[in-house]
């Protein structure tokens, strides 16, 4: 359903993404993890068309993404960034319903869908009438997710969605999000640099380094059998529950 075929990208002579071929499974959550500059965000931005690859192609629903069809494709893909990416001049509900209204939904339809999603993301009902500046970070992120889910897309992309949240808020939101993704059966691709989060969400974890996929598997497989020294060091550097900074077995 979502595929990358031989996609590569370099910026100013630096190869940020080596030629990569990748298939995201329907209904599964795939986590892209790796150190800063490993190419994980670039990969996500190529999928949504914010970055044009030097070579290769993205195929979604059997269709190749082109500049001509990218706008319509984006409407079938939800995209969530850090802090929600909400527009400050619009109220919460107007943020959530912006695209739907543009596509001709009535106010009432938007209201009903927003209330449903507020329920799902456990956003207080009264927050819908407020402006982003009046909301907490967690509430803004829930709204960002609601906006991504508004048109019920098959695919959700998340770029470090919890990056700006404090640990308690993050913990609650992680719980809620996993439930939502599972209950809705969405195909999810999430970028994070947090191993714990990767393990919590990921049916499949892709560890990137130096612009290529170094290891592809479940978190357990990564820990049990690191593909190389880089994977071992990356895992060791994370304070995983139960691991407590101990060396990962070779």
């Amino acid at each position: 359903m979502l595929e990358l075929i031989d996609v590569a990208k370099s910026f100013g002579g630096t190869q940020v993404l080596q030629p990569t071929t990748l298939r995201f499974e329907r209904g599964k959550t795939t986590v892209l993890i790796g150190p800063s500059g490993c190419g994980k965000s670039t990969l996500l931005r190529i999928i949504i068309g914010l970055v044009e690859p030097d070579q290769g192609q993205v195929v979604f629903d059997g269709q190749k993404l082109t500049p001509a069809n990218i706008m319509l494709m984006r409407r079938k893909i939800g995209y969530v960034i850090q802090d929600g990416g909400l527009f400050p001049h619009l109220s919460a509900i107007d943020n959530v319903g912006l695209l739907a209204r543009h596509l001709g939904w009535s106010k009432l339809e938007v209201q009903k869908q927003a209330e449903k999603l507020a329920e799902l993301t456990r956003l207080p009902h009264e927050a819908l009438a407020k402006y982003p500046a009046q909301l907490s970070g967690g509430q803004r992120q829930r709204l960002g997710i609601m906006r991504a889910l508004m048109l019920d897309p098959a695919v959700i992309l998340l770029d470090e969605p919890m990056g700006a949240l404090d640990p308690l808020v993050r913990y609650d939101l992680q719980e809620d999000l996993r439930k939502i993704f599972q209950s809705l059966g969405k195909t999810v691709v999430m970028v994070t640099h947090d191993m714990g989060e990767a393990g919590f969400f990921g049916d499949r974890v892709l560890l990137l380094g130096g612009g290529r996929i170094v290891q592809d598997g479940t978190l357990d497989e990564l820990i049990a059998a690191p593909a190389d020294d880089f994977v071992r060091r990356f895992i060791s550097a994370q304070r995983l529950p139960g691991l407590n900074g101990k060396e990962v077995p070779a």
Binding site: I48, G49, L50, M71, L72, M73, R74, R75, I77, Y79, I81, Q82, G85, L86, F87, P88, H89, L90, S91, L98, L99, H102, Y131, P132, A133, Q134, R147
Partner: protein
């Protein structure tokens, strides 16, 4: 149709024609000089007294502007001087007699009356005491070596006219390097001692007031400046009664009468209309009824708001799209910014002068000039406002799947609204000030009082224009502050308050 109704219809028709003939429209102009304005008022009162609907577009500007207005038919008549006609307007020194002048004018569809009486020629003058001390009697005396150090200060017009300084310098072999200053300020310069000699008109009221000595034109250099009424040929046809009345002014105003009227106006601050009416009553034995003037402050305010409002609205309609294009196509944007930047540096007088070549005198050229001056602040603020939108929010709008048009209208412009509004506010406030120069081209507004005040050296009169202009600028500023909550979305204001 019965005979009775037919004759009634004929009577009505005849009456209608008669009414149309009775009240022809006579548009009088005058140059921006006290004397010319008084004469303009006099012609206007006279025309009105003889049944015409008369308008006076007073103090339109310099000779070229007013003559152009007459040539194009913006006005029907204005007072002019024969010397100016020869040297500046027709630029033909071979026109020696009034008849030769008339022939030259006729080819342009214009005509002139016989001289009104006084000769307002150029002269050089200096304070009597200084003249005595230096032993200066004539212009030839100025050429003497011991007077080479005297500081000459001349009006812009005198400096540039062929019958002014350039010719005078050659005729008398004068070694001086004069500086240019406004005619009205020259008297202050003389009094303060910052200049020694200036150019004068021989009917100027200040000659007596400042006790000045006029240097004799011993080489007979200055041409004669007999005042005539220059008018369009068709005036005599359209308004014969008015034309006949104007002829009564021929030879009626001698030098002392004109000088006295100038003095009343400039030194005693009597209104130009009053001065003109008094003269008509005493000299022509006419019973002049002065029309009640509408509140001049209110009229000026309305006109000023019109100038600012129309020019600003047009500028918003043009500059905001220009700002958007500059944002979308940065290369084009550099060009646009350079262009509106250049427009901003053009001197307002030059812009007005250019506008006058294809727009009639009145508000239009001023509005166009103000429009041009409003572009830069609005284009720049639009561009800045759009550029300053955080990148992740621009991307949020893109990945959402909004069309470029929807992104512009629903995200980018609302987010830039505060910046755009501040640019419009800046343009509006600047416009209120700049609009005062509009009165140079007959646009009206507060500038009329300011310019008249400068000519009359009448500080209270200057303030009558300057103070309302300043107040209006504050009101405009305050008005925009009140407008901001209506235009800038609430969420943005909340976000700014937080930040």
């Amino acid at each position: 149709m019965s005979a009775a109704t037919r004759s009634l219809a004929l009577a009505l028709l005849a009456g209608g024609i008669a009414a149309a003939q009775e009240a022809p429209l006579v548009r009088v102009g005058s140059k921006a000089s006290i004397e010319n304005e008084i004469l303009g008022e006099m012609v206007t009162l006279l025309a009105r007294h003889h049944g015409a609907k008369a308008q006076h577009r007073a103090a339109l500007g310099g000779t070229q502007i007013v003559f152009q207005a007459l040539s194009r038919g913006d006005i029907d008549v204005y007072p002019e001087y024969t010397g100016t006609l020869t040297a500046e307007i027709l630029q033909d020194q071979s026109l020696r007699t009034d008849d030769e002048l008339r022939a030259a004018l006729a080819s342009r569809g214009l005509a002139m009356t016989r001289p009104l009486g006084f000769n307002n020629t150029y002269a050089l003058g200096l304070p009597e005491a200084a003249a005595e001390r230096l032993g200066l009697e004539s212009i030839s005396d100025l050429a003497k070596a011991e007077h080479a150090g005297l500081r000459l200060g001349f009006s812009e017009e005198f400096m540039n006219r062929s019958d002014g300084w350039p010719g005078l310098k050659d005729a008398y072999r004068l070694p001086h390097r004069p500086k240019t200053l406004d005619h009205s300020l020259a008297y202050r310069g003389l009094a303060a001692g910052s200049i020694d000699v200036t150019d004068l008109y021989s009917t100027d009221s200040e000659i007596k007031y400042h006790k000045l000595r006029l240097l004799a034109d011993d080489h007979g250099y200055f041409p004669e400046y007999h005042c005539v009424l220059l008018h369009r040929n068709d005036l005599a046809v359209r308004a014969p009664a008015v034309m006949a009345a104007l002829v009564r002014l021929e030879g009626a105003i001698d030098n002392s009468a004109m000088s006295e009227m100038n003095t009343r106006r400039k030194i005693d601050h009597v209104g130009g209309r009053q001065v003109a009416a008094d003269f008509l009553e005493s000299r022509l034995k006419l019973d002049i009824e002065l029309p009640r003037e509408p509140n001049p402050l209110w009229a000026a305010t309305r006109r000023h708001l019109l100038l600012v409002g129309i020019s600003l609205a047009a500028a918003v309609l043009v500059a905001v799209p220009l700002g958007i294009w500059s944002y979308k196509w940065p290369k084009l944007g550099h060009g646009i910014m350079a262009l509106v930047g250049i427009v901003q540096t053009l001197p307002s007088m030059a812009v007005l002068a250019v506008m006058l070549t294809f727009l009639p005198i009145g508000p239009a050229p001023a509005i166009v000039a103000l429009f041009f001056y409003s572009l830069l602040p609005i284009v720049r603020s639009t561009l800045t406002g759009l550029k300053e939108i955080p990148n992740h929010l621009k991307e949020s709008a893109i990945v959402l799947g909004l069309s470029p048009r929807a992104r512009l209208w629903r995200v980018e412009l609302p987010m830039a609204s505060r910046s755009i509004l501040s640019g419009i506010k800046t343009a509006a406030v600047i416009n209120v000030g700049t609009a005062t120069i509009g009165s140079l081209v007959g646009a009206g507004g507060y500038g009329d009082a300011i310019l008249a005040g400068i000519r009359l050296i009448d500080i209270p009169l200057i303030l009558q224009g300057a103070v309302p202009a300043a107040v209006l600028a504050l009101v405009v500023q305050f008005g925009f502050d009140l407008l901001e909550p209506l235009i800038v979305p609430k969420g943005l204001r909340l976000a700014a308050g937080k930040g």
